[in-house]
């Protein structure tokens, strides 16, 4: 009998203080039957990767509205690689300009969900990306 529940980390890196979006996603994933580890505001890349490692999450979702994604994401994906977490899907929400999306994907982001994304699409993305265990 296997009772696997997807475990998802939802975090806000950097200094912007707007966490409504992150909370909406956390709540939606909870309602989709997932176990959401919510770490809240002002997380450093180190804190996020450490939490992902300890919690053994199936995916990491980050919300960034500050425009600092180009600085934060490479740091996070580098740390993920150093901690053998390179196979964990990383999805991004918030305000990411269209022209930056390909750059984010090159840097290891699996998907970007901007304003207007449906929470069903995000849940479906996570269910489809679950790793074999």
């Amino acid at each position: 009998m296997n009772e696997r529940k997807p475990r998802i980390l939802i975090a806000k890196p950097g200094l912007d203080g707007h966490d409504r979006g992150a909370k909406v996603i956390a709540r939606a994933l909870r309602d989709a039957g997932m176990e959401v580890i919510y770490t809240g505001l002002r997380q450093t890349p180190e804190m996020i990767v450490e939490a992902a490692l300890q919690e053994d999450v199936d995916a990491i979702g980050l919300s960034i509205l500050s425009g600092a994604h180009k600085a934060l994401i490479p740091r996070i994906t580098t740390l993920m690689g150093e901690n053998e977490l390179e196979d964990v899907p990383l999805f991004l929400g918030g305000i990411i300009p269209d022209e930056d999306i390909p750059v984010m994907k090159e840097q290891g982001v699996t998907a970007v969900f901007g304003p207007g994304s449906s929470t069903q699409d995000i849940s479906a993305f996570i269910w489809n990306s679950l790793r074999e265990i």
């Binding site: 009998m1 176990e35 919510y38 809240g40 180190e46 804190m47 450490e50 300890q54």
Partner: protein
């Protein structure tokens, strides 16, 4: 079962935190994995001092867990934390938010924090919490802190899981009569009044102290064990642990040194009086009972012909047979 489990077990014992995290997930998800992991690790367990922190939602459990862990780290003790939050009874999902208060512990390799969902179990823990604690124990942490689901009056499972149970209260919730009700206050080895900077803290301490003095032996009762006869009271008073009431202000880092002192004295007390072993024996009994129940149920369900259970329960629903008759019929398929 994951073929990688044995590899992870080896890696965990040489200090891999990644392997530790993956084993915990596997133990949570699959009873067969839990059995194999615990069989392998059991000889290495039994070293950790397990603390249970419980109390109402918002009393300050996560903040106090964080400050307590910092205090224990200052004393060079390594700390594993298991923080339990409730699962939704409808979707099975959960929002595990205890890490929000635990940022101060980030970056310390002497601390490992794991959030767990209760997954339908009532009582403040999940059914795999004790297995996860054994994994962390084998991984070598000196102290394990279990933070329960926000508990009301009767979520007392933690008392049979922890060596030292700490019940956290906050000022402004409940009068003196709440303090003498049965339930959660009875399981405390240490009582904490958190948010002691707020109005009503002194009164809260007084009402808890009154509650302790009204008990047999003026507060020497132990861990939910009711000491019935005067002879037992006499015998137990030798081994009695005077339950302390400690004021803390988690957000200001106050009172944590007192709390840590009491926790460590409680451990010494349990060991010197033989109660440590007694608690371990009690826990073995409870955990084995739960496993026996699970296994017998699985055996019955494996034996019963397909469709028959449905038939039996339909008959009960239509009042053709009683519930007890149904149970008799099902148990005929037992081992």
């Amino acid at each position: 079962m994951s073929p990688k489990l044995d590899l992870w077990l080896t890696e965990m014992l040489t200090g891999s935190r990644r392997a530790l995290a993956r084993i915990i997930t596997a133990v949570e998800n699959d009873p067969a994995v839990a059995e194999h992991a615990i069989q392998t690790l059991y000889p290495r367990t039994g070293q950790a001092h397990i603390l249970g922190l419980t109390g109402a939602p918002g009393a300050g459990k996560s903040s106090l867990t964080t400050e307590l862990a910092l205090e224990l780290r200052r004393r060079d003790l390594t700390v594993g934390i298991v923080a339990v939050d409730p699962s939704s009874p409808f979707t099975g999902g959960a929002l595990l938010g205890d890490r929000v208060r635990m940022g101060a512990l980030a970056g310390d390799k002497g601390v490992f924090i794991r959030s767990m969902a209760s997954r339908g179990r009532l009582g403040g823990l999940s059914s795999t919490t004790s297995a996860v604690l054994k994994v962390l124990d084998a991984a070598g942490f000196d102290i394990l802190i279990v933070e329960t689901v926000g508990a009301g009056q009767a979520e007392v499972d933690i008392a049979s899981t922890a060596h030292t149970t700490i019940v956290i209260e906050a000022p402004g919730m409940g009068d003196d009569v709440q303090a003498i009700k049965a339930g959660i206050l009875e399981i405390a080895d240490i009582l904490v009044v958190n948010k002691a900077d707020r109005a009503g803290a002194h009164q809260k301490v007084k009402s808890l102290e009154m509650m302790l003095h009204l008990g047999p032996q003026g507060g020497t009762r132990h861990h939910g064990k009711i000491i019935a006869s005067p002879a037992e009271i006499q015998a137990s008073s030798q081994n009695a642990w005077p339950i302390p009431v400690i004021k803390t202000e988690a957000i200001n880092g106050k009172g944590l040194s007192d709390l840590a002192d009491q926790i460590l004295s409680h451990r010494t007390h349990l060991q010197e009086t033989g109660q440590w072993l007694e608690r371990e024996r009690e826990r073995a009994l409870q955990e084995a009972t739960a496993l026996i129940q699970q296994r017998l149920l699985a055996q019955v369900q494996a034996q019963i012909p397909a469709g028959l259970q449905h038939e039996i329960y339909t008959a009960v629903a239509e009042r053709k047979i009683s519930l007890y008759t149904a149970v008799e019929q099902i148990l005929n398929y037992g081992p």
